[in-house]
Amino acid sequence: MRILEAFSHSPLLIVYICSGDPSPRATPDLVRRLARAGADIIELGLPHSDPIADGPTIQAAAQRAIAAGMNTDVYFDVASVAGDAVPLVFMGYYNMVYARGLDRFAKDCACSGISGMIVPDLPPEEAAPLKDACKRHGVDLIFLAAPNTPQARLKMISEETSGFLYLVARTGVTGARSDVLQDTRDLIARVPEGVPKAVGFGISTPEQAADVIRAGADAAIVGSACVDLIAKGEIERLERLVKDMKEAITRAKGKAPIVC
């Protein structure tokens, strides 16, 4: 419910960070600083050894985090102390969820202040058991759609998702890129009305974030660009980027979509 509530104040900026990078101790402070800088929702990644949907930036972050001692127990500790300034969303691979047990995982999310779950390698067709667990514990299960998702399937995913619909801006893996494609705009336009839409994958600049908002998205998701700055230890630049992105999307809201 916290997520839907947040979406009533769109446009939103959603920021992904990999928990445990550079260290588990650093993560709660990062969450608070990002929230202060303007992040409306924070996706807290749980690092996996085999992140098949991620590009080199997040792969490297996951390896650093695992080496720094991040695991699922530590993850929930970190989430609990990160505070509740903004809604937190779990992002991670299904095997990590499966290994803990679906019910226990959803329950741990609820108990540590995590409002939703994004599991990029779990399509709705395979998700019924986790969906039940999430329902039991009041956690949103957020599904993804991509530019190559056919219309009938997009409709199905839009009905199945809760909280919001995560639109993958382009095919391929996560990572910063330089433009926003026509495919992305088309995808945003294809989503049935009334479904909150957040666009991620490849958004790294305030202009790109503003662009997807102008194209009709309710939220822009930034990941790799932030993870990259964290890797370089440039936390002030990270805060500035988040601030600039938030300003850019706020300005963009209400303006006419770009005609292409």
Binding site: I52, Y98, A99, R153
Partner: protein
Amino acid sequence: MKCQIANAAGVKFGRYGGLFVPETLVQPLLELAEAYEQMKNSDEFHRELKNLLKNFAGRPTPLYYARNLSRVLGRKIYLKREDLVHGGAHKLNNTLGQGLVAKRMGKTRLIAETGAGQHGVATAIVGANLGFETQIYMGEVDIERQKMNVYRMQLMGAEVIPVRSGSRTLKDAINEAMRDWASSFEHTHYLLGTAAGAHPFPSMVRDFQSVIGDEARRQILEAEGRLPESIVACVGGGSNAMGIFAPFLKDRVRLLAVEAGGRGPGKTDKIADNGASLGYGTDGVLHGALTKILQDPYGQILESYSVAAGLDYPGVGPELAYLAETGRVHPMMADDKTAIRGFRALSRLEGIIPALESAHAVGYAMSEPDALGELTIVNVSGRGDKDLATVMEYENS
């Protein structure tokens, strides 16, 4: 519409299998599944494949009565000679099949993963022969271990892309190929080398490899007038095992799946000392399927280990996980030492140098002859030329 994945045939084997992939890959996999379903029923497709298997790959391969090994073990041992397939392993059965599927789907580029290089070579062969641009993902560690196979692939026009992520071995090569496919699927076919991964790969690869078992069944009936009491095959992902087992699933034949016991059952935080996912693994999701995998309690995938690079994989095909659970297939193990013993014995007794992978099946048969019964078939999935340096090194260490 809601159940389009669940409705497709062969998606799940009991609770195993499925399609646990990022949304971007769901559509390409469903399209592949649909295309394959159509081709399964096409006479023309089968004619073309049969022709290539016969005239290019060199099928049927012999079912050879191993006289000397039989004498030593006091029972009849037949060897299914997949080592004689063009390229030196059973891998070509699958790459030819998928190559034809890709061609008919209008794809122009093949990507594949490889560990030891056998599947990479088989893909490069098909790339050259059927006219695809071909790129092979191979872990940096494996490139160093298998220089000859890298050169073979390059000679046939394939580009070998070093994988530097993760443990820089087979599982990471698969990760990298999946990432590539997520943005290249429009013109690229991902030619997975084993009966594992997301639907439709486990059933499609099994089908293409079933030519091994179909032939063996015919050949043993011809030679002995009866079915064998057991069949022994090594298991990494499980393609040669499923290939020879599949046509015997309904028969009273003991199916023995020999996994890599490696150095033993021990494991540290990140590394398993073996490749025995059926023996030591637990349920989990890897590379798109729910199956048995080697993992830590949190679900991080362990690095596997085996002296045979082709068995060095922390997962196994979902159908084998299912058949092992139902008791139809018996998971067994041969450690490094047993495999090396099998390697030497088959070379010395029969004049056949088996691949180190296949040597696990041979070594197991030699150490547990009573499990075999009076008449058995051992699948010699590949030849051992690629392994000479490894064996020399092993014996010197």
